[in-house]
């Protein structure tokens, strides 16, 4: 079972109402939002309605919103060896 990974890259401001409704049905409320939908003819038809506004990829796994957000998060450049709380517990 694979999924469509759909990202809204262009807004539908000023376009016909039906376009906005299709985006809403897909769960795309604002730009750069990513949603996952199982591959099916009905979802394909919805994507075809808004093909000028979205980017689509076929993926095997569906990610949560948080996982999609973490993909974009840059590497902080450090890692935590030990927290102060743990150090305090050890010293007791």
């Amino acid at each position: 079972m694979s999924y469509f990974r759909v990202t809204l890259v262009r807004s539908a401001i000023g376009l016909p109402r039906r376009t906005t409704d299709v985006l809403k049905a897909l769960g795309l409320k604002k730009r750069m939002v990513t949603v996952f939908h199982p591959v099916s003819p009905s979802v394909a038809g919805q994507i075809m309605k808004v093909k000028e506004l979205v980017e689509v990829r076929e993926v095997e796994k569906r990610l949560t919103r948080q996982e999609v957000h973490l993909e974009r998060k840059p590497d902080p450049g450090y890692y935590v060896e030990k927290t102060s709380g743990a150090e305090w517990k050890e010293s007791r």
């Binding site: 694979s2 075809m48 093909k51």
Partner: protein, 107 residues
Amino acid sequence: MFKASSPLFSGLLWKIPWRISQPQKARQRKRLRSVDRVVDTVSAALTRNGHSARSVTRWFKEMPREEEMLPKDKYTLFDKKEKTYRKGIHKLPKWTRVSQRVNPPGF
């Protein structure tokens, strides 16, 4: 100095340039390719899962791809009111977000 011109004399008058610029053309090609890519992805995913959708098959039957299109169709569209029956595609409302690929045959 006040110089009489249509935008100053009348209220709201938008001036759309007659010509479409080179960077606008480049971005237009980029957008055409991105739509092609979306349709290709959707079609490949459907066939891999053993489905088919009417809108996708219809698109492939009726619409040319970016590389198959003539420059004439990429940057201009049919207009019966023009002397040459063609006007720049940038005169089409919302032209960066609508698909306008085919024109009447013979024009």
